[in-house]
Symmetry: C2
DNA sequence: CTGACTGCAAACCCTTTGCAGTTCG
DNA sequence: CGAACTGCAAAGGGTTTGCAGTCAG
């Protein structure tokens, strides 16, 4: 967490951008959240802590975090963007339950390796592999 | 192509909906296009042939085609929806070139099987598996 | 101080929807 | 004929942007 902040500050300096409290706040909030966040959720999480940041700043900062490689932006079958922190070396994929919206993360080294092999065969240099499986969670209990 | 039309007509009848020239036109155009289409591209393709259909009808009909299982709707890392024809038994995944936007389709039975196995382990019943690999095509020639 | 940032509200853009007129069955 | 459809234009909803005021360096 500290590491990310340090990295972000360096990134900002390198790009002639300013280190503001809003930016550090958003970074911290993103990194305190384990799963996926959309801009509005982030806004309300902060509001609940009595912290105010405008929606515009949230979007602008999230983009910055994406540029810095600290966050990832995607659409997991939902209508709007969701963001999540990037943890180096901890890639994962998603199963999205179409009835509850719940997201299960998973990872499989063999699958990953196979996909990279296929890319190589096709002359494609992969930068990001995303697997999204839609379906239904069978025992929709409350584990995980 | 004929097969799809027949199927679509049956689908419409079964659902108490009407077979209109606009619907058949859109079905035909989707099936004449090999790759991915967004609503506007479809609109312009038709305009170029002197055929006029409103945007609203395009969206409504595409949804119908999705319901009928003849088309698939997704966001391939682009900002808006893209649609593509569904060819039964011909599932595939995508590599999206981040510099040119070009899309390469691929399929691998082993990967598919592994993913289904993982779903089973997690108690998840998959209905649609989507793999999207972003990266760069190395020899960006003009093959395929 | 000056350039960069924030907040606000308006603009955007693709998609959806309400309505009046048209067409299929 | 009557229910369902089309086209138009306006509404929607998340995201982006212009601008005036504020703040970091």
């Amino acid at each position: 967490m500290k590491r990310a902040e340090k990295y972000f500050i360096q990134f900002l300096r390198d790009n002639n951008q300013k280190v503001t409290k809003e930016r550090l706040l958003l970074l911290a909030e993103l990194f305190n959240t384990s799963g996926h966040l959309d801009a509005d959720t982030l806004l309300f999480q902060l509001r609940n802590q009595g912290k105010k940041v405008s929606r515009a700043t949230i979007y602008r900062t999230l983009d910055l975090l994406v540029q810095a490689g600290l966050a990832r932006k995607s659409r997991l079958g939902r209508e709007h963007y969701v963001y999540e922190r990037v943890t180096p070396g901890r890639s994962h994929h998603h199963m999205v339950c179409t009835s509850t919206g719940r997201i299960i993360e998973f990872w499989d080294a063999d699958v990953d390796e196979s996909l990279r092999r296929i890319c190589q065969e096709k002359g494609f240099r992969p930068s990001y592999i995303s697997i999204s499986i839609q379906g239904e969670l069978i025992n929709a209990g409350d584990d995980q």
